[in-house]
Subunit: 469 residues, 2 copies
Amino acid sequence: MPAGTSMSGLRRELSDAIGDPDRVSEGDSIRVLHSADLSPNPPRLPDLVVFPTSIEEISAVLAIASEQRVPVTPFGAGTSTDGHIIPLEGGISLDLSGMDRILALRSEDHTATVEAGVLRESLNRAAGPQGLFFPVDPGADASLGGMAATNASGTTTVRYGAMRQQVLGLTVVLPSGEVVRTGGRAMKSSSGYELGGLFVGSEGTLGVIAELTLRLYAIPEHVIAAQAFFADLDSACEAARALVAVGASVNRVELLDGESMRAINNFKQLGLPESPCLFLEFAGSPAATEEDAALAREVVEEYGCSEFAVETDHTARVRLWQARHDITFAIAEAQKGGRLQATDVCVPISELPRAIRAARETADRLEIDVAIVGHVGDGNYHVVHLFDADDPEQARRAKVLKTEIFEEALACGGTCSGEHGIGIGKIDELAVEHGDLLPLMRGIKQVIDPNWIMNPGKVLLPDPPDHPR
Amino acid sequence: MPAGTSMSGLRRELSDAIGDPDRVSEGDSIRVLHSADLSPNPPRLPDLVVFPTSIEEISAVLAIASEQRVPVTPFGAGTSTDGHIIPLEGGISLDLSGMDRILALRSEDHTATVEAGVLRESLNRAAGPQGLFFPVDPGADASLGGMAATNASGTTTVRYGAMRQQVLGLTVVLPSGEVVRTGGRAMKSSSGYELGGLFVGSEGTLGVIAELTLRLYAIPEHVIAAQAFFADLDSACEAARALVAVGASVNRVELLDGESMRAINNFKQLGLPESPCLFLEFAGSPAATEEDAALAREVVEEYGCSEFAVETDHTARVRLWQARHDITFAIAEAQKGGRLQATDVCVPISELPRAIRAARETADRLEIDVAIVGHVGDGNYHVVHLFDADDPEQARRAKVLKTEIFEEALACGGTCSGEHGIGIGKIDELAVEHGDLLPLMRGIKQVIDPNWIMNPGKVLLPDPPDHPR
């Protein structure tokens, strides 16, 4: 917060602007709930939490914040994994959970328009009866606005793409309070610079995504899930690489190493073999799905798959994927305490076995107990562990692990983030990966958010660092 | 060109920079070849045509152009349809056809890295023996750099997406001559602002796309093409809408009205029925493809399809799609002379029948003989006709037709351009469609091209119009 800001004055002004003092909170418990996410970054309290319920209210809040140079940190469902929702410089946490209306569901067009706070599972509950679903599936029941903000992806991205591929149109409130609309309802457009794709992945640093028009897809007629078990991690990675190389038609290709399998067994009492595994899914017409599963089975067996367990029962499939989604909590439970670090590199699929071998070796060398899981059909994997951030040696080793995994990924032609975004923790990595682009990114930030009030400390730092603010 | 520019001085400097005077041309015939495209916009000669063969040469040319404020218009294969390659203010036409190397073809990763001047059919010839293909298919054998510049799409976009969805990484030479790289070789990334998606569709106004890393796809095992004929245009549109609504798995859904069918019959002596038609394609495993075609047949028959002609023979299919691709030339041949106007709106699929009915009525009212064709699976259609631009009444009516079709599309939630881009002819439409975004677009242009040397007169005009240049 800028020195000299009158908190009571700001609070009154915001309450007047949105017409409801109960939705402008200074309460300690509410501020604590908006101070931390799932990442290892230390919490920081916002000064105020504001709960808008309309675009007009977001606009009024941002206009006041701009005028007074008060930092604003958008907050969706709080499921971000690299500190995105931590208000590093205090100010306003803008909680969009009250923006939870599904504004339109157009079954003929396979599109929906939603407010930013709508949770992905809520959209799926609404779309299901129309035979449609929204594919992006990061595990957590995140808000769709938050998912767009980090360009989230997940288990089905290998088939359907990430958030950026689903966003047809956005309503964005700019830091000035001005409201703009990108894209539209058509399936494609070449109408001027594609600013929608710029706001997607901008992590709340360029404005507030208030509404989204998203693609939906027909629910596949038939789905087969399969688990392919391997004697070692390397064989599982080689099999994943081969599946992609032969162009197998898959809906999901998820890797869980032995450690991950042990963690989900303990967490959910599943009794699965505790060896490296690919969770696979095939979807389409019955005949096509059977063909796809049979081809995949042939491929993975060439790479030493020792057991190929097929599951067509809906309930059993849901339980299996729920176990996959609970992996973070399962690992947290298995490792008992400390802060969670999850790397997020993504490499070309041909480099996956090499990159994961290197990650495994680094963890072993550093004597860190990690679990490795990933959306490996995309080349995206997470090395997950808990550590005691107050223990300097543990913190140092966690940092070395993260850095070496990133450097290996970069050497393979990969990226520091497949889906979590830069947040607080990858600002240095972004500078290594895309240093040549930073001046352009900063220039664009300066055009759209000239006072740098939006989500300060994430993605980009001002340059020079003593930028007026 | 700025007043006072010494042509001989500029030519010498450019020749020195790229080390080969033969690749800096003032010759009239070469300049004429770089003065016009397929659009109705009047030609304009560049002062010089430069033929770089490396990123370093592009960089040297742009640095000189920036220094001297000389306009630069990138030129790929010259197949743009809204004046993109016309050097409206003279200066340099930067012909990238010499940048025609396929730098890498990674069959395991399903990616290729190419220079910007590589033609899409050349990439397909190289990828084919590896069992891969590049799907974006605008008809013309365009350059991949040019296709990225307009976010081109085409007949297979309903299945595979447009250019933006295929671009994993770009090497871009900025107007200053600086070289930057966006994205990479991984299938997805959330690493900072997605500038690649901004350069895609920027129509040469933000820099020169020099290299691209693109996704490739496995060639489907089995392909079935079908032609579904209808008694009237409206039924064909309703059938297309229904195909998308039921989630039919299709590779291509192309509409050709009776006029288009007559034109391709005359052009290629095909002897097809001359009634409105959907050209369909299904691809995948043999069983799945048969199922998909059977489902589509059921759907279109519900909408009055009177004949469903299936074609599995490869040669016959190629001939059919070639006829579809030749449509522009076929119409030009049928209408004998004048300038070609092809609208490019795209609407939500549920609005397609309404929008095309309105377009047909407008053309009838204006007594313009049009052909209507489109990638209707995406809601994208072109109303095509030739007119005598020197006849004020014909020119007026052509303008009214274009404007009314755009207004109808906008009223339907659509866009002025599905795939051709803004170019010269849709600057006013962009202002109507995305007026709220123009200040941001101009701000971004100003950051990246502060002297407005890149492709002046396309997409954006400076504001205020007397911007120093």
